[in-house]
């Protein structure tokens, strides 16, 4: 079973995504900050795909993404933000997809399945 790591400081989002993706046949883990996410990777825990929020306290999603890429961790990353502004940010180009948050998760689910076929 493929593992999805959900990184978001909004508890409601994390809960929602976990339920949704588990029901789609994925195993999910979620963390609430960039620091926690890096610790997760430091512990060599499994992640076949990362859903990454951008605006978080202290270390934001783009910093996490940059760190992952600098460590040559090639896990697919979907940036999932309330902002549309950072689509053309160079760092955001390091991600595999950029999706603006929406109550309709259809697009997000499709992108996840595209990047990590079940």
């Amino acid at each position: 079973m493929k593992n999805i790591l959900i990184i978001d400081d909004e508890e409601g989002i994390r809960g929602l995504y976990e339920i949704e993706f588990q029901s789609e046949g994925f195993q999910t883990h979620s963390v609430s900050s960039g620091e926690e996410a890096l610790r997760y990777f430091n512990e060599n825990r499994p992640a076949d795909l990362v859903i990454l929020d951008i605006k978080m306290e202290n270390m934001d999603g783009l910093d996490v993404l940059e760190e992952l890429r600098s460590r040559t961790i090639g896990v697919p990353v979907i940036l999932n933000s309330a902002y549309s502004t950072y689509k053309n940010n160079f760092t955001s180009w390091l991600a595999d997809a950029y999706l603006v948050k929406s109550a309709d998760l259809t697009e997000l689910k499709e992108k996840v399945k595209e990047l990590v076929p079940v």
Binding site: G12, L16, E20, Y83, K101, S102, A103
Partner: protein, 572 residues
């Protein structure tokens, strides 16, 4: 008279200078009246041929004077003595001598030639001063340099003016490095002179009338002006007599003897005369230029008196020229200040608008984040619930309403979160160069008076963009402020605008080689916790709305240059 006095040792010298002598008359007595037939000079022992010549040349008047004296009527006669060289004026005063057997008359001959000449000269001088006075009045009525030069030249050349045939004015430049031929007046040939003077004799005009004629565009001397405007004389010793006299600030009558080198000869040839009066124009101890005048048609010699009166006139003319130049400079300064003031007012207005829009933009971003997350959660759970519960569950209706309403709010938010769409846009075609300049004006307003360097490629100078001017100002301002911050000051950044296909590329540089300017700028685009980065995020949003972008590219072989791209208006 001096000559006469020198020879008349026995004559009495009086004041005014005169000579005393006795005339003995040869007379006849007819009808109890004495008739003088002739006279003889008696008491002068020395030969005074000139007195004798004068008296005999004017014998009729002398006999008349003697007769009237003897017959009891004192008389003074004016004698005009014409010699080959000139015409002289004398006054003969006669009075009877008592102790003589035959009628004798004491005479006093006074030379009035000098007084007559002086009288004429004074009359002429009054006329000249009157003209200068009229010219000075005319100077006071204008600040226009061309008009002032025209008045000067008319005063120098008008028949009832200083009487020269032609006049030329050369003015010095601000740095006093050279003299430039500016204006001239006068006939270019004897034929033309004949026509002008013939016209004037038929329709005599006062100086004021001549001024009015020229002011209304009449009487322009094209040929002679072509000559003078072709002349540029460096103010150096070797540049010829005009430069020398101007530098030494002395008035001179230039003649063949003044020619010292080829430059002098060339200048004389250009003017086509042997003699020229030259008077420097000096005001506030600064050389304003020179007046040149000649009598090319009449060949009348230029006298010291001519030069003197020209010199007097030149003092007033110099002041008028200097005043006009100062006024011109002042006017230019005032216009610059007015322009700068208007620019500041425009910049302030634009700045206020840009700041307002910026605040709205920042608010939009905050709302986007604060509202979108809860919406995603609420709507997401509602959608999840809809999938989980059975189709006939009553709760389904409630969840359906929640899901639809969340979708509606999301749609609204999508429109609202776009900074551009939430403003009432006032889009139109604007000059890109103008918008950039205005933004730079805003950037350099307030305490920061330095403006970044701006280079516009020729093919974008007239290019236009179709944007909301205020939004575009706001976007550029945010980007340039950040650029200035990274470059340690506005003065350190430069903008180079080129055209690439259908877009303008505004390359922003800090002028430092191997700096991380562009890189640092980019890292700012993903930071949102500080106000200025939010400004940049909004700026990017605006640019993208108009099809533009921010990127890093190459310009003139230099890599890693930051650019702002904006599509140009191509008529659709």
């Amino acid at each position: 008279m001096d000559t006469i006095i020198e020879k008349a040792d026995t004559a009495t010298i009086a004041d005014p200078p005169g000579i005393y002598f006795i005339l003995e008359s040869k007379y006849s007595n007819k009808n109890k009246a004495i008739h003088i037939d002739d006279f003889e000079i008696k008491t002068l022992n020395h030969d005074l041929p000139m007195v004798s010549d004068i008296l005999h040349n004017c014998s009729e008047e002398v006999i008349k004077a003697v007769s009237e004296t003897i017959n009891g009527r004192g008389a003074a006669k004016k004698l005009i003595f014409e010699s080959q060289e000139n015409t002289s004026y004398y006054e003969l005063h006669c009075f009877p001598q008592d102790n003589s057997n035959s009628p004798t008359v004491g005479c006093f001959l006074i030379d009035r030639s000098f007084q007559e000449f002086e009288k004429k000269r004074k009359k002429y001088r009054i006329h000249e001063l009157g003209l200068i006075s009229q010219a000075v009045r005319a100077f006071a009525e204008t600040r226009n340099l061309s008009e002032i030069l025209r008045i000067i030249l008319l005063a120098v050349t008008a028949g009832h003016g200083l009487g020269f045939n032609r006049g030329f004015i050369l003015l010095s430049d601000d740095s006093r490095d050279c003299l430039w031929g500016c204006m001239a007046t006068g006939p270019s040939s004897p034929k033309e002179a004949g026509e002008i003077w013939n016209d004037l004799s038929k329709n005599p005009m006062t100086f004021d009338e001549v001024l009015r004629l020229y002011k209304n565009g009449g009487g322009q001397d094209a040929q002679i002006n072509k000559l003078i405007t072709s002349i540029k004389i460096p103010l150096s010793e070797s540049a010829g007599f005009i430069a020398r006299a101007a530098m030494e600030r002395r008035s001179v009558i230039i003649g063949p003897e003044s020619i010292e080198n080829d430059n002098d000869r060339e200048l004389c040839d250009k003017f086509g005369v042997e003699h020229l009066a030259l008077v420097p124009l000096i005001s506030s101890d600064l050389l304003q230029g020179v007046i040149l005048a000649d009598n090319v048609i009449t060949k009348r010699p230029i006298t010291d008196a001519d030069l003197n009166i020209l010199e007097i006139f030149a003092r007033y003319a110099s002041d008028a020229i200097e005043n006009s130049r100062l006024y011109g400079k002042l006017e230019h300064q005032v216009s610059l200040m007015k322009e700068a003031n208007e620019k500041i007012i425009r910049s302030r207005e634009n700045l206020v608008r840009a700041e307002k829009l910026s605040s709205i933009g920042k608010m939009a971003l905050k709302v986007a984040h604060e509202v979108r997350n809860p919406l995603t959660i609420i709507g997401g759970y509602a959608n999840l619930g809809l999938r989980k519960i059975s189709p006939d569950d009553d709760s389904r209706k409630i969840l359906d309403v929640i899901s639809k309403e969340v979708g509606r709010i999301e749609n609204t938010l999508n429109r609202f979160s776009s900074v551009v769409s939430m403003n009432e846009k006032n889009e139109d075609k604007y000059s890109l160069a103008e918008i950039i300049r205005e933004t730079l004006g805003m950037l350099s307003s307030g305490s920061n008076l330095t403006s970044p360097e701006l280079k516009l490629a020729p093919d974008v100078r007239d290019s236009r963009v179709f944007v909301d001017k205020g939004l575009f100002h706001q976007a550029l301002m945010a980007l340039l402020r950040e650029a200035a911050r990274l470059a340690n000051g506005v003065r350190n950044i430069s903008l180079n605008v080129i055209r690439f296909e259908n877009s303008a590329m505004i390359f922003i540089d800090d002028g430092q080689t191997n700096s991380k300017f562009a890189e640092n700028f980019y890292s700012g685009l993903r930071k949102r916790n500080e106000d200025r980065y939010q400004d940049m995020a909004v700026a990017l949003e605006i640019l993208q709305h108009y099809g533009g972008d921010i990127g890093i590219g190459s310009l003139q072989g230099i890599h890693g240059m930051l650019y702002v791209e904006i599509p140009l208006w191509e008529g659709k």
